[in-house]
């Protein structure tokens, strides 16, 4: 499934004094199987953008084409489309509403009209993917979960629909480090195994360094940059000019280069840096 965003503009409060242009003429295309990271400071328009991609918000102007078809066109079955494009919202506590965790996760698959045993299979599988113990939590009320457990349940609810495109708005906020690592690994596997297209909004440049094949940088409603993490993290001053960080490995690389060390400018993954630091050390000890 390809997603083409054409000249998307979205204005909140049109015609009132509080009118704000949240998105301003944004265009890009996502090919099947890509892992696109969407970054930008708070209020830059990321959440508004992703809510357009599954039809929750309608453009003020511009279009979203799904496999060439206008998402907001007359004849489109948006409900069916929404099941193929799963969206995990930013605040999961507002997304949970059933009496038990299992029922909550089953909500999507049930709407898809799947048979009971398939629904059950999917609920168990999704809970396993997010590492929420079925025996312990399936029958619990979602409101008796901790913050991180709620987020896991919300992600499971979308995974259970087995969407072709998965959009996640800050999925790892509030997760403990192991939970964060597991969710990221799960996304990596989903992409490798099912070729799921993934779009992820995150403030964690470390997560982006690990997963994204491409980054979209949003700043004040505009697409400020679109490129590979390697390219964007090494472009001096780009990320800081839009209020963002670069991964710690890239920062260490920049600090050392500024001191005169011979390192490539575009290192941003810890494992790459490790190799180069070992090389520097061996060179230094050799003489």
């Amino acid at each position: 499934m390809s997603i083409e965003v054409r000249h998307l503009t979205h204005t909140y409060g049109e015609g009132s004094v509080l009118k704000t242009v949240a998105l301003d003429d944004i265009s890009f295309t996502v090919e099947p199987g890509e892992f696109v990271g969407i970054v930008g400071h708070t209020g830059s328009g990321k959440s508004t953008l992703v809510q357009h991609l599954n039809g929750l918000l309608k453009p003020t102007s511009g279009q979203i084409l799904i496999d060439g078809q206008d998402l907001n066109g007359e004849k489109v079955d948006r409900r069916a489309l929404r099941q193929r494009i799963g969206l995990v919202f930013q605040y999961p506590e507002y997304q949970l509403f059933e009496e038990t965790v299992a029922k909550d996760i089953a909500f999507g698959p049930k709407n898809q009209g799947l048979p009971a045993d398939e629904i059950d299979r999917r609920v168990r599988k999704a809970m396993e993917s997010v590492h929420l113990d079925y025996g312990k939590y399936a029958e619990k009320s979602p409101f008796e979960l901790s913050g991180g457990q709620m987020r896991r349940a919300a992600i499971a609810g979308v995974l259970a629909m087995e969407p072709e495109v998965l959009i996640l708005d800050e999925p790892t906020a509030g997760l403990d480090p192991r939970g964060r690592d597991r969710i990221l690994t799960m996304l990596e596997e989903l992409r490798a195994r099912e070729h799921t297209t993934i779009l992820m909004v995150s403030h964690s440049m470390e997560d982006m360094a690990r997963l994204a094949s491409r980054l979209l940088v949003i700043c004040e409603g505009k697409l400020a940059a679109d490129g590979s993490p390697r390219e964007l993290f090494s472009r001096p001053g780009l990320m800081s000019s839009v209020g963002l960080d670069i991964p710690e490995a890239a920062r260490l690389c920049a600090v050392l280069r500024a001191k005169g060390y011979d390192l490539p400018a575009d290192l941003y993954r810890p494992e790459e840096l490790r190799e180069h630091l070992l090389r520097l050390w061996k060179e230094a000890s050799a003489c």
Partner: protein, 284 residues
């Protein structure tokens, strides 16, 4: 440093109604005046439950908590406890109640019945302490997440608290918002001696604390300085946590034979060690 005890938890257990097992059991610790304590722990370990106990939102099922000497379990102490131990939460949008920033900051004071003429100087000084005085007359919904969190901090400050309890106050913020909120609270800690209990999932934030408490399955299992706590990487990972990235990188390099010193937490410390071990040949 003054050694007055600000928080004392004696053998505290807490069980949610109808829950099969306690969310916290036999928790025992002390926080001294002016300390900055980070609390780490896996999802569901009991951190938020602990925060709510410190703020008298919940009462211990067993044991006792003293906040600035006030027993949270005594009905008549509730307001004393809440005034002295102010709390900030994760979601910036849920904490703002008024439509103008300064009124939001004044909200807690109104509840306490502070007279109007005393209120505004306090609100003003609280807003300047978090560097938000320029926004006193703004509408909160136009602020960034980091700015909203600083307004929430000001709301607590106006009450002249001894302790600030932050339950993942930076979780929903972008990197600069996170830095701005942590810096604000750290400077209140340093300059005003306010004691801080900082719950977080960011190891780099915990690395800046004086001391770390690690909660696991409702118990405090580790307590120590960041260097001590992050030294045993396998143990920390077993607790579903991690070490700061530079600490992990240093450990891997050490495994390859590079003799980096122990206790590296930050990029700057790592850069210094690289300079020490791989001195640049002086430029010609």
């Amino acid at each position: 440093m003054n050694t007055q005890v600000r928080i004392q938890a004696n053998n505290v257990s807490f069980t949610y109604e109808d829950a099969p097992s306690p969310a916290l059991s036999q928790v025992e610790f002390e926080v001294r005046e002016g300390e900055f304590i980070a609390v780490l722990g896996h999802n569901g370990s009991g951190k938020s439950t602990l925060a709510k106990l410190l703020n008298a939102l919940y009462l211990p099922t067993e044991g006792r908590i003293l906040v600035c000497g006030f027993d949270t379990g005594k009905e008549e102490n509730i307001w004393e406890v809440r005034r002295r131990a102010g709390m900030i939460f994760q979601n910036p949008d849920n904490q703002i109640v008024a439509t103008v920033v300064k009124e939001d900051v004044a909200f807690g004071l109104e509840n306490l019945g502070v007279p109007t003429e005393e209120m505004y100087p306090r609100v003003e000084s609280a807003l300047s302490a978090v560097q938000m005085n320029r926004y006193a007359d703004s509408a909160p919904h136009l602020l960034s997440g980091g700015q909203k969190q600083r307004v929430a901090v000001a709301g607590i400050l106006a009450m002249e608290p001894s302790v600030i309890i932050a339950d993942e106050a930076t979780a929903m913020l972008d990197p600069s918002g996170r830095r701005e909120v942590l810096e604000t609270v750290r400077s209140l800690n340093r300059n005003k001696g306010i004691t801080v209990v900082w719950i977080t999932h960011f190891m780099e934030e915990a690395a800046q604390a004086d001391r770390i408490l690690v909660v696991s399955d409702g118990k405090i299992v580790v307590s120590g300085t960041p260097r001590e706590v992050f030294e045993d990487i396998d143990r920390i990972r077993d607790l579903h946590l991690d070490v700061p990235r530079m600490t992990a990188l240093a450990a891997e390099l050490r495994k390859e034979g590079m003799p980096l010193r122990e206790g590296i937490l930050t990029v700057e410390e790592m850069a210094e060690e690289v300079e020490r071990l791989c001195p640049l040949k002086s430029a010609t």
